[in-house]
């Protein structure tokens, strides 16, 4: 990453092979670097049309990726190139290492064939996810939008990498107000849904837990289609929270009176998960954010004891 953009334009340096995705801020292409033949992912960022230059989310993603230097479980930003589109407007290309699939597609292939993802594979993926999240958190970065779609994978090696840090941000302690309209509903932590103004690393752990359960059942754990529905899905499984279970919950901005459910056993929702896995899942789904297990502690959980971690 020594030189950026100045020598070759993106068009000269890369050959676009195919469009592989489209996000809020632009298209993603699979491309070949002409000089080396290396396959990369080009994330093309349109600059705002309303004369506001580089979108803040892009700036945030780039600067955060710059900081999360070289963790194997965070997608690697190889380069940033400035270029021009057909209309002569400036575009920004983020050059990432190429990964051939993501966890959403991976789960879908199993769902379609009716097979289960082998438990050791789930364990390996979960460990890598915890490791990547622990790395981000160790650098003071909250991801805020973890979901299967944002977890890139290599089918052959089963390597998992966290991507799409567009909503991520560095946090200070004490944690201040963040906008809460951020996470995809299904993976959104209850404190976010309830309008907590202070939130922390624990929001990412909640998402990790939802992904964990989804790997096992191939179905979203809490598939809500509105904020209220999302909360009710959660309450139905984990019980409607109260001041005893979660001190301060009734003071949260969006708190109302809800139907009263008592907690169900997690093994009902995730029946094929082994005992140690259920324990880890339960610790990740603690209502009180401060009680939720950290990513670093999760890596040390007995669930991972029989996992061969040498290549992870």
């Amino acid at each position: 990453m020594e030189k950026i953009g100045v020598v070759l334009s993106a068009k000269e340096a890369f050959e676009k092979l195919e469009k592989v995705g489209e996000g809020t801020y632009g298209k993603v292409y699979r491309a070949r670097e002409k000089a080396t033949g290396k396959i990369v992912a080009l994330k093309k960022t349109r600059l705002h049309e309303d004369d506001e230059g580089v979108p803040p989310t892009t700036l945030r993603e780039v600067s955060i990726l710059r900081m999360l230097s070289r963790d194997p479980h965070v997608v690697r930003l190889l380069d940033v190139k400035q270029g021009q589109n057909k209309e002569g407007k400036t575009v920004l290309y983020l050059v990432f290492e190429y990964m051939d699939t993501d966890l959403k597609k991976f789960i879908r292939t199993f769902r379609q064939t009716g097979q289960n993802i082998p438990p050791p594979v789930i364990k390996g993926l979960m460990y890598q996810l915890c490791k990547g999240v622990a790395f981000c958190h160790g650098h003071g970065i909250l991801h805020r939008d973890l979901k299967p779609h944002n977890l890139l994978m290599d089918r052959k090696t089963m390597m998992l990498k966290i991507a799409d840090l567009g909503l991520a941000r560095a946090f200070t302690v004490p944690l201040k107000k963040y906008t809460h309209e951020i996470l995809t509903l299904w993976y959104r932590a209850p404190e976010v849904l309830l309008g907590a103004t202070h939130y922390s690393m624990a929001v990412d752990i909640w998402s990790v837990a939802c992904i964990f359960a989804e790997l096992v059942t191939k179905q979203a754990l809490f598939p809500g289609d509105s904020e209220l529905q999302q909360l009710l899905h959660i309450f139905r499984l984990l019980g409607t929270p109260n001041e005893d279970m979660w001190p301060g919950v009734s003071k949260l901005m969006n708190w109302h009176e809800y139907p009263q459910w008592s907690p169900q056993s997690l093994s009902k929702a995730v029946p094929t998960l082994e005992e140690a896995g259920l324990d880890l899942l339960a610790q990740m789904l603690q209502y009180e954010p401060a009680k939720r297990i950290s990513a670093k502690k999760a890596m040390e959980h007995p669930y991972f004891d029989d996992l061969d971690k040498t290549n992870l």
Binding site: M1, I4, G5, V6, L47, D51, E52, G53, V54, P56, L59, R60, V62, S63, I64, R66, M67, S69, V80, Q82, T90, G138, H139, G140, I141, R169, A170, F171, T172
Partner: protein, 249 residues
């Protein structure tokens, strides 16, 4: 933005004083001396502050913008990167990086209000173009750490977090952005130097506290001396001298 300083690119990017004080050859050709160089950077820090006060952004955005501006000039010449454009463009970029975006047209409006001089006059298009050039010059490293966070924690720890000490030290930290200190020293050392100066001024005994911190007091005292030197010389930084320096570009 703030995160873990020691794991950050900011920490790895700290420079030696000699590197910071290198006048770019292109500027040197035009007769820009080290004094001129420092004066222009100081003037541009003030410009960023004035502009920031107009558009009402937090001190943190000012601090980040000034840091960007000073980093740019460790790599680029003022001849090619006109400070009168770099300053507002850095504020624009910092406002985005610090999540309190200011619209470019607002900046352009206040630039015109602040300076009648044509040489300061830039349009939205110029700011957006310069934003891209600054991003390249900074190599897209945008996360910057500041002494403010260490400052409040340290004051509390020292039991000096009364209003008068807080205001005095906060003001001192603000003034350090008129210098290149943040390119050379980690933020907590700058904070400690400001507390040191303030405690001497207010006659608070902090000897034991500093001893318990196990910091290198020589480093802290040297930074303090630099700050005091700056105040000492401040009288000589007249508008005429600043304009003369800018004329050379």
């Amino acid at each position: 933005m703030a995160a873990n300083f020691w794991a950050s690119s900011h920490y790895k990017h700290l420079l030696d004083q000699e590197e910071v004080d290198m006048v770019n050859p292109l500027d040197k050709e035009k007769g820009v001396t080290l004094e001129d160089f420092k004066l222009i950077k100081m003037h541009m820090s003030n410009y960023i502050l004035k502009l920031a006060q107009q558009v009402k952004v937090r001190q943190r955005v000012v601090a980040t913008a000034v840091t960007y501006m000073r980093r740019v000039y460790t790599r680029k010449s003022m001849t090619e990167y006109d400070p009168r454009l770099v300053a507002p463009a850095c504020l624009y970029l910092a406002s985005k990086a610090e999540e309190s975006t200011v619209q470019a047209r607002l900046l352009v409006f206040y630039i015109k209000k602040l300076y009648a001089d044509d040489k300061y006059r830039y349009e939205i298009k110029d700011i957006l173009e310069m934003e891209m050039k600054i991003l390249e010059a900074l190599n897209y490293y945008l996360v910057v750490f500041h002494p403010y966070r260490s400052l409040s924690g340290l004051l509390q720890d020292a039991g000096l977090n009364d209003l008068s000490m807080t205001q005095l030290t906060w003001g001192l930290v603000n003034d350090t952005y008129k210098m290149d200190l943040m390119l050379v020293h980690p933020p907590h050392q700058i904070a400690l130097a400001c507390i040191y100066i303030a405690s001497v001024l207010r006659e608070k005994d902090t000897t034991v506290w500093y001893e318990e911190l196990r910091v290198d007091m020589n480093v802290i005292k040297n930074i303090s001396m630099e700050i005091l030197d700056f105040y000492e010389n401040n009288r000589m930084f007249t508008d005429e001298r600043i304009n003369a320096a800018l004329q050379k570009l």
